[in-house]
């Protein structure tokens, strides 16, 4: 069995078991759906962070705008539909991220990250205040999950199934992508941008395409999240949420494995859920565990070892599986 098949199989099994395992530990299909949605979002983010080596503080902006776009499309043009508004929202996000990416990809490293930070802050400010479009503080509501053919998605398990299928599709597509020549170039850019340029690659164009794919996948997750909760709020475009997405990716080990972000999401959501069920001081304990995780988890420090150039053989991976 090739590693690709193994990855897909693992993904499929986890997706099938997740709602039942969650039921067993006292959580719900809704939380399971949220986990899959965040997995999609972080898979998207990891195209940029893990494979291209660009740190983005701005993915909450795409997540939130994806949600707003899909919800607005359904409310205004496509009543009771799910698939078309989601596709429409992906097209909108792709177009917007192409424009924004063209501007901010001219900067590298921390400066790129900081520009994405400024962008998210701006999007948050706009969505919190543009009440006529986004509902402002109250959030945008008043839409439905709609139907796929005759299937009503209002049932939480049905909706989970749809999200899981989409999630599997995203995993498959991204797996193909990173194993394609295109993916190899991205990793080459991450490892040494200068060398990639000398090899004759149009680095800027590759980065832009990676940026657009990454933003669009995260926007897709945002759209699904809006339909899950029947509400899109400005909080989902906030810097805090960007930070959480990044945290999930990094906990998952960035370059370690394409499924890494999924592990990060599970850790983050499970710990936060279980802590906040048991104690009102969940933030304190969660913060402590989080610190310990970043400081002592080998997968985490391997990500930095590569960047600082300290790690040699052990940390230098070829293309991630």
């Amino acid at each position: 069995m090739s590693s690709k098949t193994r990855t897909l199989l693992t993904g499929a099994i986890v997706l099938c078991l997740l709602p039942f395992v969650f039921q067993a530990i006292g959580l719900t299909a809704t939380t399971a759906t949220m986990v899959v949605i965040l997995c999609i979002a972080t898979l998207g983010l990891n195209v940029l962070m893990g494979y291209t080596g660009l740190i983005s503080f701005g993915h909450a902006a795409w997540f939130g705008m994806g949600g707003y776009a899909a919800a607005l499309l359904q409310k205004n043009f496509l009543p009771d539909q799910l698939i078309l508004p989601v596709i429409g929202s992906m097209i909108i996000i792709a177009a917007m991220s192409a424009i924004v990416g063209w501007f901010i990809l001219r900067r590298r490293g921390v400066y790129f990250a900081l520009l994405t930070l400024a962008f998210t802050a701006l999007v948050y400010t706009v969505s919190y205040r543009w009440t006529a479009l986004t509902g402002g503080e109250d959030g945008l509501g008043g839409f439905t999950r709609g139907f796929i053919g005759p299937i009503d998605l209002a049932n939480n398990f049905t909706y989970y199934a749809v999200v899981a299928v989409i999630g599997f599709g995203v995993l498959y597509a991204l797996l193909r992508l990173v194993h394609s020549p295109f993916g190899t170039v991205l990793v080459a850019i991450r490892e040494n941008q200068l060398r990639a340029e000398f090899q004759g690659y149009d680095v800027q164009r590759y980065k832009l395409i990676a940026f657009v794919i990454s933003a669009t996948v995260t926007g897709l997750a945002g759209a699904l999240s809006g339909f899950l909760h029947y509400i899109v709020t400005a909080e989902s475009t906030s810097i805090e949420f960007s930070g959480e997405l990044m945290a999930m990716v990094v906990i998952g080990g960035m370059h370690a494995h394409i499924l890494g972000p999924g592990v990060g999401v599970l850790f983050y959501i499970l710990f936060r859920e279980l802590f906040s069920i048991t104690t009102s001081n969940w933030m304190f304990w969660f913060g402590l565990i989080f610190i310990a995780f970043v400081m002592y988890l080998p997968g985490v420090s391997s990500a930095s070892a590569r960047r600082s150039g300290a790690g040699s053989g052990r940390f230098r991976r070829k293309a991630p599986p």
């Binding site: 921390v110 805090e240 001081n281 913060g287 402590l288 610190i291 930095s304």
Partner: protein, 292 residues
């Protein structure tokens, strides 16, 4: 008259620069020297405010504002020894994450120690009120704050530029390996820098405690704006932060005069523009670490 209003807001912006400098200076120091993106900066700011409020009934307002940053600076030793130390040579993203966790711990710790409801803190009457200089109205307290900021700036500048301590630090920013090769241990220097950095955050918190709400999440209120000031100024630049604080203060003040609702958006747009035109910020130096 319109022209006078504009002038009045520009002057206010200059005073406001002191306010922004207090928020951003400590963040900038740790960022430039250690390459640490300290998201827990807001936590130290909040702790500074809470300590000042707690100490005021016992010591009086002015001694409390002096004592609180000193205590927080001691806390900075632990912060540096047990956490930051491991991250100087690492990817900035890791220090960012670890301090993200620390910020949560700090916010909740405040809630556990002092309770969730906001605390009250009042300016002593001799510091309260306005001063009219010609047709202009100033807040007495802000003029004093401005004085404190200028004094702090001068001492830090002297420390960095006129002492051997400063020479090691500046060399360390540019080339830590070279400093190491010369047989100098950077460690104690870094501890001092972190102490100064978090101490400055606490100075901000303590000084702001009578003019802002003292509540557990107050740290996150100032974090974004602190970052914006540092970024506009440019990483690694001492005068960059000063210039940036002045620019942000004036732009914000003037925006309030004409388009009050855009006051905060003006800062984001300013940052966006500066970064597009001057990629390393106004006076930022080229640092390899931040660009790969």
């Amino acid at each position: 008259m319109q022209l006078f209003f504009l002038f009045e807001q520009i002057v206010n912006g200059l005073v406001l620069a002191g306010y922004y400098l207090l928020i951003a200076l400590g963040l900038s120091m740790i960022f430039s020297v250690g390459g640490i993106v300290n998201l827990a900066h807001g936590g130290f700011y909040a702790l500074g405010a809470y300590l000042a409020v707690t100490l005021t009934p016992k010591l009086g307002f002015v001694p409390a504002v002096v004592a609180s940053p000193l205590l927080i600076a001691l806390l900075g030793i632990l912060f540096e020894r047990f956490i930051l130390q491991r991250f100087y040579r690492e990817d900035p993203i890791l220090s960012l994450l670890v301090t993200f966790g620390l910020a949560m711990v700090a916010e909740q710790a405040i809630r556990m120690i002092w309770g969730a409801s906001p605390l009250s803190q009042v300016l002593p009457s001799f510091l309260k009120g306005g001063v009219e200089i010609g047709p202009l109205l100033f807040s007495k307290y802000r003029l004093i704050m401005l004085g404190v900021v200028i004094a702090l700036l001068a001492s830090i500048w002297l420390l960095l530029n006129r002492t051997s301590f400063g020479r090691v630090i500046r060399a360390g920013i540019q080339n830590p390996d070279m400093v190491g090769a010369l047989g100098i241990r950077l460690q104690p220097y870094m501890t001092t820098v972190v102490m100064i950095g978090v101490g400055l955050a606490a100075v901000g918190g303590a000084l702001f405690s009578p003019i802002t709400t003292v509540h557990p999440a107050m740290g996150s209120e100032i974090l974004t704006i602190a970052f914006i000031v540092v970024i506009i100024g440019g990483l690694g630049s001492f005068w960059g932060v000063v210039l940036s604080a002045i620019l942000v203060g004036v732009v914000r003040s003037v925006t309030v005069q004409y388009v009050p609702a855009a006051a905060d958006a003006s800062m984001y747009i300013l940052m966006f523009l500066v970064l597009l035109l001057r990629p390393r910020g106004l006076l930022g130096e080229r640092m390899v670490k931040f660009e790969s």
